[in-house]
């Protein structure tokens, strides 16, 4: 086996041009879409401020939100399941933080940690029910969607007689853990950029002289960290291989010794984790938790993931692709505002992009995997 002539391998590899090989990858659809979307808006809205510092921060923040939940949804979808309760989980998590931190007055870091624990437990419950009963995750998580949303409205209603609980920012003042989810970083650098004239400064109002962008929001940092984590987990670790295997063919994976049930449950937990990160950043930034937060976010996450090239039935996809899908989603959504397009048409655009993306991705996937 050691005397295998390396030449033979090289000879075969030449069959496919390196160019084509580099091109044909799961993220290709996402990359093409991203380029198309940016070109489109560069032409349509180049003079609208969409591509100055403030504009970039604008669509980056929206995209980062989508990315955070898309990473969880992506890994879960690759593991062969999906989760419709993400949106309700976001509302629920925010409300729990508000109730623990404001209504009950616990230190914010305890409130956040306990909320993470509760939400991840719900995620695990989703997973355990799906794995144990063999029911489709669509149904199980649809039930969770309703149950969590019900609690999100019922609990504050009963405890506080309101469905928006504010004062979270004040309660989180100076908390070490809360600081990880709210605020911005890199302020001095942006101040310097502003002074140097690279980015604009406010020329009126009470912040005149400050740069228009005064730092990178923690939300974007979280999105970045989760994408890197998800990408490395998926492509560079043993567990990542198990995720692919569990979604590709659970039975075959089980035979090969992959602990499929554990993988799926953990992915449900991770999805819940991402939803809770989203919720925590949101309540820290906006200072209040509302019972209607996160509506329809589950669909937005799934759409971003599917635009990014993942297969709805599992076993195939890429975190980078999902992130690009989220970027496309965010840029299109905000770009239409910059381009001054009637905003209710956004949904029509979204539907059309989804269809086109999924057809393109199917084509690319068939080339890669030799599906019939």
């Amino acid at each position: 086996m050691a005397d295998t002539p390396q030449a033979v391998i090289d000879e075969r590899v030449k069959d496919v041009s390196p160019w084509r090989k580099a091109l044909i990858r799961p993220e290709l659809g996402g990359i093409i879409g991203t380029v198309a979307v940016f070109t489109f808006f560069a032409l349509l809205a180049h003079d609208s401020g969409m591509f100055n510092a403030q504009g970039i921060l604008n669509w980056s923040t929206v995209s980062a939100q989508f990315m955070i939940i898309a990473v969880g949804a992506c890994l879960l979808m690759i593991a062969g399941e999906f989760d419709l309760s993400v949106g309700s989980m976001i509302g629920f998590a925010g409300m729990m933080i508000a109730i623990f931190g404001v209504t009950l007055g616990w230190p914010m870091w305890i409130a956040i940690l306990v909320t993470f624990a509760i939400c991840m437990a719900f995620g695990a419950l989703n997973g355990v029910i799906v794995v144990r009963t063999g029911l489709p995750s669509f149904i199980v998580t649809l039930a969770t969607l309703f149950i969590l949303r019900g609690f999100t409205i019922f609990i504050p209603q009963t405890l506080e007689r309101k469905t928006i609980i504010g004062g979270i920012r004040e309660a989180a003042e100076g908390d070490w853990l809360a600081a990880l989810f709210g605020g911005t970083i890199g302020r001095p650098f942006f101040q310097w950029l502003g002074d140097a004239g690279v980015i604009g400064v406010f020329d009126r109002g009470n912040r005149a002289g400050e740069p228009v962008v005064n730092g990178v929001p923690m939300l974007i940092i979280w999105a970045f960290v989760l994408i890197v984590f998800g990408h490395i987990l998926l492509t560079r670790t043993r567990f990542g291989n198990w995720i692919f295997a569990a979604g590709g063919d659970a039975q075959a994976a089980r035979y090969a010794g992959v602990p499929v049930d554990r993988v799926k449950i953990l992915m449900f937990v991770f999805t819940a984790f991402c939803a809770t990160v989203f919720a925590t950043c949101q309540v820290m930034e906006f200072g209040s938790a509302g019972a209607d937060r996160g509506l329809l976010k589950e669909f937005e996450a799934i759409i971003a993931v599917v635009i990014g090239g993942a297969l709805l039935t599992g076993g195939y996809g890429s975190v980078i692709g999902a992130a690009l899908g989220a970027l496309i989603f965010g840029v299109v959504q905000q770009g239409l505002f910059f381009a001054n397009v009637e905003s209710s048409l956004f949904r029509v655009f979204l539907g059309v992009i989804l269809l086109l993306a999924v057809i393109l991705n199917t084509y690319i996937r068939r080339i890669i995997t030799g599906e019939r």
């Binding site: 809205a45 609208s48 401020g49 969409m50 403030q54 504009g55 604008n58 669509w59 923040t61 929206v62 939100q65 509302g91 949303r149 999100t152 409205i153 209603q157 007689r161 309101k162 469905t163 928006i164 504010g166 004062g167 406010f202 009126r204 109002g205 009470n206 912040r207 005149a208 400050e210 228009v212 939300l219 949101q282 930034e285 906006f286 200072g287 209040s288 509302g290 019972a291 209607d292 937060r293 996160g294 509506l295 976010k297 959504q333 905000q334 505002f337 910059f338 001054n340 009637e342 905003s343 209710s344 956004f346």
Partner: protein
């Protein structure tokens, strides 16, 4: 509270479960129920679908209460069920939205509230007086026809076309914030911002703060909440239109209970709003914002 006559009233709103503003209504309703010694119930269509609301009014009528308190969010949809209830012998009071003519036509006892369009109109006139010539209306529930009336009224009060001034902001705070920022960036000559409730107001406050426009841009909002009150104090928001939801829920219960017990009835509709809450009169509001104010 020895009166033991077991009166029961049902309030049917048009708000989805999660609409925060209606909490004040619920709280005031319960308070009035306690104070008057009557049973009160609050019902609403979970998704805010007005057709579902019509069913709930029918259902409320079927359960035979002594009175129903409801809104006329859409006269076409709700007229039938409300009229049936009235004809069935149930006393009905219209609150929040509707017009005096509609109330009369439906045979309801009275109206307590603030017609959405009129409130918008009044706000628009006030803004016009303050020199506003263009505005953006942040609509967080584009598909709900009721609150869009506020934008239309505002535009008419200013005497300008609504045009593309109403933006579909979605309900996610970050999206609202960033869409407002995007709009203001592309339309830098916008004079005023109108938000339609705490859902859109809170992120918008942050948007103008972040853009350094706080206090600089004319900013008015409907309905109050803790953040809005704070922003009024800070000078970020010029005024909040307070339709005093407390009264909209509290008064009908009191009126109905007294009507049923003693046959007394005020002779007129009550306009609970629009009251403009500004930095000058904010203090009392502050304490109870979101709960009773």
């Amino acid at each position: 509270q020895a009166i033991d006559d077991d009166l029961s009233y049902i309030m049917v709103s048009h708000a989805p479960d999660s609409d925060a503003w209606w909490n004040t209504i619920k709280n005031a309703l319960n308070l009035a129920g306690e104070q008057m010694g009557v049973n009160v119930e609050y019902r609403n269509p979970p998704t805010g679908d007005l057709a579902d609301m019509a069913r709930i009014i029918e259902q409320a009528a079927a359960s035979g209460p002594d009175g129903i308190i409801t809104t006329v969010a859409d006269y076409d949809v709700l007229a039938g069920p409300i009229r049936s209830a009235v004809d069935q012998g149930i006393d009905v009071i219209i609150m929040n939205s509707g017009t005096p003519e509609q109330v009369r036509e439906l045979g309801a006892l009275m109206f307590v509230g603030q017609p959405e369009y009129d409130a918008g109109l009044a706000a628009g006139q006030r803004a016009k007086g303050d020199g506003v010539e263009s505005f953006v209306c942040v609509n967080h529930k584009i598909s709900n026809p009721v609150i869009a009336d506020r934008c239309r009224g505002f535009a008419d009060g200013l005497g300008i076309e609504l045009g593309s001034s109403m933006i579909d902001s979605g309900e996610d705070p970050a999206e609202i914030k960033n869409r407002v920022m995007a709009y203001l960036n592309t339309n830098p000559d916008t004079d005023a911002i109108l938000t339609l409730g705490p859902t859109s107001a809170n992120p918008t406050i942050q948007a103008v703060e972040e853009m350094g426009l706080a206090g600089d841009i004319y900013f008015g909002t409907f309905d109050l909440g803790a953040e809005i009150v704070q922003a009024i104090k800070d000078g970020t928001i010029q005024w909040g239109i307070d339709q005093q939801p407390f009264l909209q829920a509290y008064l009908p219960v009191v009126v109905l209970a007294n009507y049923d017990r003693y046959g007394v009835l005020p002779g007129n509709n009550v306009n609970s709003g629009p009251g403009f809450v500004t930095a000058d009169n904010i203090d009392k509001v502050e304490e109870l914002a979101g709960e009773f104010r």
